[in-house]
């Protein structure tokens, strides 16, 4: 049946995304070289640096967009897919689905920050920013969660006869 196959694709993409989130969070996402000394930072490290630099507001935005949202999105989608077969509260699930569908794209934020910094900070030996493998894993994870949400349609949560007779 078509809905079952759709859900299988959605599950497969979601599990792949969850796996890619591990290296994304554990590996450094960029390396800053300053006066000959290189310093690699992870996503969590970058948030902490912003917080220490006295910018708690910006640190909070980055924390939400790059740490909280990807994990939250994977968990919420997993619950929605799990419940889809015998859904008893389709309205709540549909609302949750729409919410994670639209906030998921904001996770790309860190990829853009690294790209901008890598393009800009090119002072050879004086100062340099280079991407590190974590950013690639992170980009892959974000795209996979978006594709997973695409593979699933909220139509599956609604039974045709229900309230329409």
């Amino acid at each position: 049946m078509r809905p079952a196959r759709e859900r299988l694709t959605a599950w497969a993409l979601l599990i792949a995304a969850a796996l890619w989130l591990l290296p994304a969070n554990l590996l450094p996402i960029m390396a800053v070289t300053q006066a000959g000394r290189s310093h690699a930072s992870t996503i969590a490290g970058g948030v902490w640096q912003l917080f220490e630099a006295g910018m708690p507001g910006i640190a909070l935005i980055v924390f939400v967009a790059s740490l909280l949202v990807p994990i939250f999105k994977v968990l919420v989608l997993a619950v929605i897919y799990w419940r889809a077969e015998r859904e008893d509260n389709p309205l709540a699930s549909t609302r949750a689905y729409r919410l994670v569908y639209w906030i998921g794209r904001w996770s790309m934020l860190d990829v853009f920050v690294v790209a901008m910094l890598a393009a800009l900070v090119r002072f050879d030996r004086l100062a340099q920013v280079q991407p590190a493998p974590g950013i690639l894993a992170f980009a892959v994870a974000v795209v996979l969660t978006m594709l997973s949400a695409h593979a699933f349609t909220p139509r599956q949560l609604w039974k045709a006869e229900h309230g329409n007779s």
């Binding site: 912003l50 349609t153 909220p154 309230g163």
Partner: protein, 214 residues
Amino acid sequence: MERPVPTQTQKSATLLACPDCGTQLPRPAMSARGSWRCPRCDCQLSGAWSLKPEPLLALTLASAVLWVPALTQPLLKLDKLGLDRHASLLDSVVALMHGLYLPAGLLLLFTLIIMPLINLLSAGRLLWAAHRQQPMPARPWMTLYRHSREWAMTDIFLLGILIAMTKLGDLATVTPGPGLFCLVVAVVLRLIVETLAQPEQLQRQLEAQHAPGP
């Protein structure tokens, strides 16, 4: 992703199926005001404002004109001990286009250049058809418009620039470049067009023009 099409046997000018839950709903009058939501699943079927193609077409055109300098002009300028560096949006995309990071670079190309361009083209094509009272353009245009709304991420890139600026604060002197100004205005105009030209609403308006209405 293809969405299930409503049963063709029931196809009529007065009923339409909600795209999210498939409920058959009576079509509202074209002149109806206020946002319209599906009573069953709360899916937004039209925005709070009526869709006037001409002003939106003008905004799309303005956004397209600003798009060229926004891509090529420097977004940020950096000054460290008398050395100058600047980077445009294109430079940011190219920065990740090598070796291991090629997939990330391609993703940036897709979300920051290709998709925003498709968004401008498809919105322009559909609004032009609505303006000229032409029949519905070929189906791919509507599909492209729907997808590009999600995958064009220039708005997120703007927040990324802001965060990059704060991160650079202690490293060097940062000044915004002309490209940044163009990009901000282009993004704001695109957001206005997207909010006012909801895909469902636009599609119904185009279909209504095609149908030999009363």
